[in-house]
């Protein structure tokens, strides 16, 4: 009885989270344009999707920015984490404050402050400014996922490697890096997803000429979203789901082996 209650409670909460997604996917298969009326099954929005220039361009912007920003933030952040870890206490706490500051700042303030910076230094807002902004808000997340791994690491392993004749660079690549790689990968994936989903910071750091999917959706939200956008997000959703399942499957396999 108690177990039934627990399960139904969790089911209800999950239902609440999934209802809009189910609605969205249904709409993408709706033959009509109306949001609420079902006019029969159709794939027309999926075929229209690939001919829609604005959406394809926004998709290109979103994906390239997410990939470049995630890679840049991972390099920058991993180096920074190794550096911060090796620091004395005082400079370390200064660096941590600087890392935490953008994470505690509301997105809207981050976005606006960068907009002011770009306008102030007469840099035209667009693709590059959006990319710079994304690298900026991603890097602290990478640092915060790498640092715990560095702290967990036994520091004698590194010293042992040196004693056994490894050069510091060799030890860094072959001892430290493999140890912290789970943190690096988590940080990179986190940066990628954050970048993919960001709206507020992109909104303030780009021009209407260069839109990512979020700002495109925003500009259309008041006129009415076309079902093509629903089709696109349904596809992206499925792609991510497939990715997760393969990763899980692989992880399961290696765990067994």
């Amino acid at each position: 009885m108690k177990r039934l209650f627990k399960r139904s409670y969790l089911t209800l909460v999950l239902l609440f989270l999934y209802i809009p997604i189910v609605v969205l996917i249904f709409q993408s298969f709706n033959a009509g344009k109306s949001r609420a009326k079902w006019e029969g099954f159709s794939l027309r929005w999926y075929s229209a999707l690939f001919e829609d220039q604005a959406i394809m361009k926004a998709l290109y912007v979103t994906l390239t920015i997410a990939v470049i920003a995630a890679v840049a933030a991972t390099i920058l952040g991993t180096l920074a984490a190794i550096g911060i870890h090796a620091m004395q206490k005082r400079p370390q706490s200064i660096m941590m404050t600087m890392t935490n500051l953008p994470m505690t700042m509301p997105d809207i303030v981050t976005g606006i402050s960068l907009m002011i910076l770009f306008t102030f230094s007469k840099i035209e807002r667009g693709y590059v400014t959006m990319l710079l902004a994304h690298i900026t808000f991603n890097t602290p997340y990478v640092i915060l996922s790498v640092l715990p791994k560095l702290k967990q690491m036994n520091k004698h392993t590194y010293e042992a490697a040196l004693d056994l004749g490894a050069s510091p660079s060799y030890a860094l690549l072959h001892v430290i890096l493999p140890e912290i790689s789970p943190g690096v990968i988590t940080g990179c994936l986190l940066a990628f997803t954050l970048s993919l989903d960001d709206f507020v910071i992109s909104y303030f750091t780009t021009s209407p000429m260069v839109q990512n999917l979020s700002t495109l959706i925003y500009s259309k939200a008041r006129i009415g979203i076309e079902p093509t956008l629903n089709a696109l997000s349904a596809l992206m959703f499925l792609a991510l789901l497939a990715l997760l399942l393969t990763v899980n499957h692989r992880a399961g396999k290696t765990a067994k082996a």
């Binding site: 989270l17 361009k57 505690t104 997105d107 303030v109 997760l244």
Partner: protein, 329 residues
């Protein structure tokens, strides 16, 4: 593609050079660790953060303390306190007979109070809904806790703007819920464009951020403590209040800060689900900057927002001094 993005070519060069520089620096650092102190590895990051975080924040502070001509002034903050400030100044100059017209405008304060109230409601609802969910998930009887965590994460992969727009389909006058109500022979209701709809959208978007940290703190708990409490004769309720609840405080604190903060500053949700009938502090800031182009007042508002957030975070941190709550990671 680069032509259609309408950017001067040098920007791409600059960007490419920066990325190349970073990679080179990484390589050099790795090759020559013997020569370089490892703490220098964070130099590029430090430079980056100074350029893109510290300087921008200082710029906000600069704009908030100057007027349109760049002269020092506190008017922007007075404008926050009294939204009729500039008109009132005019009346005061025009002579004593106009003094009766001077009246403090409460628009900004009102919007701030409204945002704080909505954020508070959202946080309370998220806690009320999310705590039991996290508690049941962490329950060993359920066994599929980690799968459930993934189920909570998956919805967040769908663009949150689209998910919010999808609620419109459900809530609007001709929408699914009203359709269902009418099919049952009941009256339809006006569900959109009010506080309730905005609140629903906020709870919907921020609920997972309450569930995750609480779940994490509950799973970290030593289960032997519960057994000990039961052995010592405490019943379920007593065990919960005296053992489980206190141990989950760090997760709750972390959840509260992760829900409250974005709630105060959200500006998309009220615009879509509130339909412009409601304005929150985030809207106000965006409005000052992009609609009115008044950077000085906008900066003052942003600064006030930031200080409020920092104060509330430090209060919350007092309640969880060790910062054990952690984030989603």
């Amino acid at each position: 593609m680069s032509q259609s993005l309408n950017l001067p070519g040098w920007v791409f060069w600059l960007l490419g050079l920066m990325l190349l520089g970073m990679v080179l620096l990484a390589l050099v650092a790795v090759r020559r660790t013997n020569g370089i102190k490892r703490s220098y590895f964070s130099a590029p990051y430090t430079l980056w953060m100074v350029l893109f975080t510290v300087v921008p924040v200082l710029l906000i502070a600069y704009y908030s303390l100057t007027d349109a001509n760049g002269a020092f002034t506190l008017d922007n903050f007075k404008n926050f306190w009294d939204s009729n400030y500039s008109v009132n100044q005019l009346y005061a100059q025009m002579g004593p007979e106009y003094a009766v017209l001077i009246q403090r405008g409460t628009v900004n304060i009102g919007i701030l109070a409204y945002s704080l109230w909505m954020a508070l409601l959202c946080t309370v609802i998220c806690l009320a809904l999310g705590y039991p969910a996290a508690y049941f998930m962490a329950d060993r009887e359920i066994k599929i806790g980690s799968t459930l965590v993934v189920l909570f994460i998956i919805p967040m992969w769908m663009n949150f703007l689209l998910r919010t727009v999808a609620w419109m389909t459900l809530l609007e006058d001709q929408g699914l819920i009203n359709g269902l109500l009418k099919a049952l022979g009941l009256h339809g209701a006006q569900l959109m464009y009010n506080d309730g709809a905005v609140l629903l959208g906020m709870v919907y978007n921020f609920l997972p951020f309450m569930v995750f940290p609480i779940y994490t703190s509950l799973t970290k708990m030593d289960s032997r403590l519960l057994e000990a409490a039961q052995d010592l004769g405490a019943d379920h309720l007593r065990t919960f209040w005296r053992v489980t609840a206190p141990l989950s405080v760090p997760g709750v604190i972390s959840g509260i800060s992760m829900v409250f903060m974005p709630s105060v500053t959200t500006f998309f949700i009220p615009r879509i689900l509130g339909g412009g009938n409601t304005m929150m502090f985030g809207d106000l800031i965006e409005n000052r900057f992009l609609t009115e182009g008044n950077w000085n007042v906008g900066s003052a508002l942003s600064l006030i927002m930031m200080i409020l957030i920092l104060i509330s975070l430090s209060v919350l941190r007092k309640a969880d001094p060790e910062g054990e709550g952690g984030g989603i990671v």
